[in-house]
């Protein structure tokens, strides 16, 4: 738990610094004055027609779901990579290689299946 203290302290320092920067321009800056155009969303110069809350078709959620699956698979490789040389030193190098080879083959199968099922088409 001790290792987390400096991280929290630094987060606090940076957040304070950032909040101060956001706050300071509200003191130093000129007074607000209202014009109709200024208070519209910055778009193309013409008055905005559609509400900004109108829905858009977002295909990215599928990417996000796929990302979670693959990212967890990659995370499994980190401890494997970390202990790899220890396994080699103790004479189990071929075993640890082939075990992970099966895992990576499954990973690759998943990726190919994803491409074939057109989950990664961007039209």
């Amino acid at each position: 738990m001790e290792a987390i203290v400096p991280i929290l302290v630094l987060t606090l320092i940076v957040a304070t610094f950032g909040s101060l920067l956001v706050y300071v321009s509200s003191i130093l800056g000129p007074k607000k004055h209202y014009t109709k155009a200024k208070y519209m969303a910055y778009e193309c110069g013409l008055p905005g027609e559609e509400s900004e809350k109108s829905t858009v078709s977002v295909r990215y959620y599928l990417t996000a779901i796929l990302f979670i699956v693959f990212d967890i698979e990659i995370l499994f490789m980190f401890p494997w990579a970390l202990t790899y040389k220890e396994f080699i030193a103790s004479g189990h190098g071929a075993y640890i290689f082939w075990v992970m080879f099966v895992f990576i083959a499954l990973f690759l199968f998943g990726l190919i299946w994803e491409v074939k099922s057109k989950a990664l088409e961007w039209d």
């Binding site: 980190f78 970390l82 961007w122």
Partner: protein
């Protein structure tokens, strides 16, 4: 205040100093970017304020201070104000976890105390940096969603999809490096990269005297993949679709101005510094100066001064990569969106997998007697 109090004080000073180092590099980098782009495009760039235009950014910063504070009425107040603050936190935290030079010792009240040239030392440094720097996507999402602007929202959506797609290739390209060094600690990794190039071939040690023992010689493909993925993670051209100015005005920070926009810049350049520092640490030996480190250590004697000199070496390498980031931005055109995603998922991910398997096979073949059977 005893020795432990002094130690805490020095650690806090170090923390603030490293954060300020990051922040004060931003105006210099903006100057380099503007002058560099002008140089590449055969024009002058800012050259009026101060020698070579160097104080231009100081003038800009003062101008930013006195800008009107403005929030679009359609925005969500909390998200709108939180986004710039959130933008600088991941970069600062990640930069604090990377060792910027050799550790040093100081004598405090008769005790010899050991310090690292970084804000905090973590055993799982690499995982921490990867995890924290991917939180940068939140700042973009906050800004995009909170601004109440369609361009901002489009930019934020693109940014999140792009960052998660390239994070796969980024994470996987590091597995090769982990296989070679077998550690999550930056210190152990840099220590392992010192001296001339040496490796085991069929159980026999081989030493190549004229090359340093740097990661790039073990992981050339991993270096290329990591390098390309960092461009996407930092939203820099050719992968700067979240703020593609020709399509989306300015992407996620369209509605921001003044100091708030400056903070997004600090975030972006902070991420670039983290990416360059990681590249240097993984593939270019960290603060190691090939064929010179030991000689300098003996010539200087004091461990604190040695640490400072090695810090200059490290920053020299980092600045080189920052220049490469700028150079690439003003040389290559932007990708189209489907090309970007195809490159990430269908090209870089399979190559990173191949790199992992090939590295694993080679490590086994070179280090063990039995081979793969």
């Amino acid at each position: 205040m005893g020795a432990s109090g002094l130690e805490i004080l020095i650690n806090v000073i170090k923390m603030v100093a490293i954060f300020l180092l990051m922040v004060q590099l931003v105006p210099i980098l903006v100057w380099v970017e503007r002058r560099g782009s002008a140089f590449i495009q055969n024009r002058y760039g800012p050259n009026r304020v101060g020698p070579l235009g160097l104080t231009q950014l100081l003038a800009d910063a003062v101008k930013f201070l006195f800008k009107e504070e403005f929030r679009p009425p359609k925005s969500i107040a909390f998200l709108y104000y939180a986004a710039p603050v959130v933008a600088i936190i991941p970069g600062a935290l990640a930069f604090g976890a990377i060792p910027l030079s050799a550790p040093f010792t100081l004598e405090l009240g008769g005790e010899i105390v050991h310090f690292n040239f970084q804000s905090f030392q973590l055993g799982i440094g690499i995982v921490f940096v990867l995890g924290i720097s991917s939180l940068g996507a939140y700042a973009l999402l906050f800004a995009g969603w909170g601004s109440g602007n369609k361009y901002s929202l489009m930019g934020a959506l693109r940014a999140s999809a792009q960052m998660i797609s390239y994070e796969l290739a980024l994470g996987l390209s590091i597995v090769g490096i982990l296989l070679i060094y077998g550690t999550f600690s930056f210190h152990e990794m840099i220590t392992a990269q010192q001296g001339p190039l040496r490796f085991m071939l069929m159980g026999q040690p081989v030493v190549v005297d004229f090359l340093p023992n740097w990661g790039i010689f073990y992981q050339p493909l991993g270096f290329i993949l990591f390098f390309a993925a960092t461009f996407a993670e930092t939203n820099r051209a050719p992968f700067d679709l979240p703020e593609a100015e020709a399509e989306l005005v300015a992407g996620y920070h369209t509605e921001y101005g003044g100091l708030k926009m400056l903070m997004f810049y600090i975030g972006e350049y902070g991420h670039m510094m983290v990416a360059s520092a990681l590249l240097v640490t993984f593939f270019f030996g960290g603060w190691d100066l090939p064929f010179g480190s030991e000689g300098i250590r003996e010539a200087i004697g004091s461990s604190f001064l040695y640490s400072l000199v090695m810090h200059l070496v490290f920053m020299g390498k980092v600045l080189f990569f920052l220049w490469v980031f700028i150079w690439v931005r003003w040389t290559l055109p932007r990708f189209r969106y489907d090309q970007l995603m195809d490159l990430g998922w269908k090209t870089m991910l399979p190559w990173a997998l191949f790199n992992t398997v090939a590295t694993a096979a080679i490590v086994v073949l070179f280090n063990s007697q039995g081979g793969l059977s």
